[in-house]
Symmetry: C2
Subunit: 403 residues, 2 copies
């Protein structure tokens, strides 16, 4: 069981993305109720069938008036109008207005026929069945016009929108009780490696707990995937092969971690070759170099490194981008701008993803190495340093890609 001498030529970031993006699964779409839409991806543009609002309404509590009746009103010379009725939200005024009349109106109530403006209650004084108006209003003042917010036929949300709470409000506002969303990607997930064991028990010498199943399962859930959880797969050739084939059968993507380095016991590359074809073995990034991409009849196979920080870093850089592209997500990943807290020397020739902790808009580099789980505990995200940069100076403005 001889050690191999090293990776071949490493793929560039661009080459890795080209391969990923040329292997996108067709996910299909489904209609789901609004209450199930959170964090799903819109499959189509949403066109409003209605004007919003669909009737002219009061923007303020007060009195619906004919604007010209109020011209000249002031604190010292109020205009007196007869109050001919009252209309509150959800009601419709029985009668319209004629000159010299007004109708008490609540915010959101439809403007009575004949009226064209609303005087705010703050500028009025009731007196029996009359009201003193102390301030004039122009036509349309304090009125929300028909379709002023959304006009029928216009697009309110575009395909690819990752639906957040506020977007569900937009769907509701135009009267939809459901929406067409992209089907969840199904991802078969497992960890491999002879040294890893399920958390919960005791460790024998040489063993470590399976970390990547927990981080990756959760990251996939955050990204709206259904996980086919294959647990820990021993790295025996036939067992590994069976697991990958099962994953290809049942899912849109096979995602595994571990076994992709150069140790003699590493079988992932060989097994990818046996089942299909290895497209990339090693990418010029740091951490996360030992990334393996393979294709088979059943879809794409991605082998992530075993080190937890490397695996999660590759996940957020490559796998999430792949999934978002497959789902058609139109927004970029979450990021924040910050100032680098410490000078950081980088490796020329490798694109670096430097984990950082965020504190008061400062990005503090975490330089623990990709095997350190304490880095996982602290990192709020990472900054990207291209392959030609030798040093990022303290105080430089950086964009932090948030986990």
């Amino acid at each position: 069981m001889a050690l191999k001498a090293g990776f071949g030529r490493l793929a560039t970031m661009g080459e890795a993305f080209d391969i990923l993006y040329s292997h996108l699964p067709d996910l299909g779409r489904q209609e789901v109720s609004i209450s199930e839409c959170l964090h799903r991806v819109l499959a189509t543009d949403v066109v409003s069938k209605i004007d919003v609002p669909h009737f002219a309404k009061a923007a303020m509590d007060g009195y619906a008036v004919i604007a010209s009746d109020t011209f000249g009103a002031s604190d010292t010379a109020s205009v007196v109008l007869r109050v001919s009725g009252s209309v509150m939200p959800g009601q419709v005024a029985k009668d319209g207005l004629t000159d010299g009349e007004c109708i008490e109106i609540g915010t959101g109530a439809p403007l009575p026929a004949g009226s064209d403006a609303v005087v705010m209650v703050e500028y009025t004084e009731p007196a029996g069945d009359e009201v003193h108006i102390r301030k004039p209003v122009a036509p349309s003042e304090n009125v929300v016009g028909v379709g002023s917010d959304v006009s029928a036929g216009s697009i309110v949300l575009t395909a690819g929108t990752l639906l957040e709470p506020r977007h569900l409000g937009v769907l509701a506002a135009v009267g939809l009780s459901s929406a067409k969303v992209v089907a969840r990607p199904r991802v078969a997930l497992f960890s491999t490696g002879p040294e890893i064991v399920e958390p919960g028990g005791d460790l024998l010498s040489g063993q470590i707990f399976d970390i990547n199943s927990s981080t990756l399962r959760a990251a996939l859930a955050d990204d709206g995937c259904d996980v086919v959880d294959l647990g820990i797969v021993p790295d025996q050739p036939d067992v590994l092969e069976d697991a990958i084939r099962k994953g290809l059968d049942e899912a849109d993507l096979v995602l595994l971690s571990g076994g992709s380095s150069l140790g003699g016991g590493d079988l992932v590359v060989e097994t990818f070759e046996k089942i299909g074809k290895v497209l990339v073995h090693g990418v010029a990034v740091k951490p996360g170099k030992p990334l393996v991409l393979g294709e088979a009849a059943g879809g794409l196979m991605i082998g992530l490194p075993g080190y937890p920080m490397s695996a999660l870093s590759d996940y957020y850089i490559f796998v999430q981008a792949f999934l978002h592209r497959a789902m058609g997500v139109s927004s970029g990943p979450r990021s924040a701008s910050a100032t680098l807290a410490r000078k950081h020397p980088s490796t020329v020739g490798r694109y670096e993803f430097l984990p950082v902790r965020l504190e008061d808009q400062m990005a503090i580099p975490i330089v623990k190495g990709s095997s350190a789980i304490s880095a996982l505990a602290q990192a709020d995200g990472f900054i990207e340093i291209d392959e030609n940069t030798e040093v990022v100076e303290k105080g430089e403005a950086v964009i932090v890609r948030l986990f």
Copy 2:
């Protein structure tokens, strides 16, 4: 049904928060499995019972050696060592090393007894049962020491951590299969107002679709709450009272929207007074002024404005802060720094939450008014403008609180 003349003195932001924070429910805690921990809040510090790693291991593929054996090795004068065995991840070397020997080792495999360093495979050349070492190593080089990442007894995560994928990896790394988290807050939610109807059907004149149920239910889900969904409650005094009492019985918080302005038909304030006590009616913020806070024997009652943008804004400012404080969340809300794209005049005397759209680190103000649902579609978050600021200039650095 007379209109009232206006709000009394508006509460300040600080007063509103003081009241919220003095009415925190006691949520209790529960033990849940790691796979259920995502987005939950840790109830206790997590102390590692083990050293991580719990054995010294190879950081690289190569050969485990006695470092002093390699001193003086170079490209031109290699040191030759006898390969006495091989140890891969998950295995334990049967025999230790003696002078002049080395053992082939895979990344992550435990260091054999007697060895104290690893020579990377890149600096070696196998030759039968020997290997040529072309570079010396110092003791501990390419070795991950016992407890070097986490030492037994140290705190790896603190109480109040909002658990993201990476944190679940930390729990797994120290061998935990479950964690103690804060119980989900139970929030009774409903919309009220005579004009609102369930999305899906047709609108009669004067009616609008219920938007806030969709946005608030989703926002509460994002914040880890169990929602007791009471739907749309007609604003009739007895029905409204019944719904609030039911919510107080079944939940930690009653959250409703609508009916908190000054229209004659607004019953929320009166009903809060009947059931318990109104603590705040109106806060000096824009949008979201018509916020009502009330207390009853069963807990806090929060009445949000009916306008969707106002309701969601008050949610993120006040309700989320209340829930996070109740859960003991130690991190602040998500935010991003940006540059204001346009000059924005603000209202002196009211703390303003200006919705903005983010584009290339620019914050573009959305000035559609709080009834506009198109603002909901576009706003990525808001910036805070204090009550003494008259104008925020174009180009000013701002912090965007992300939705």
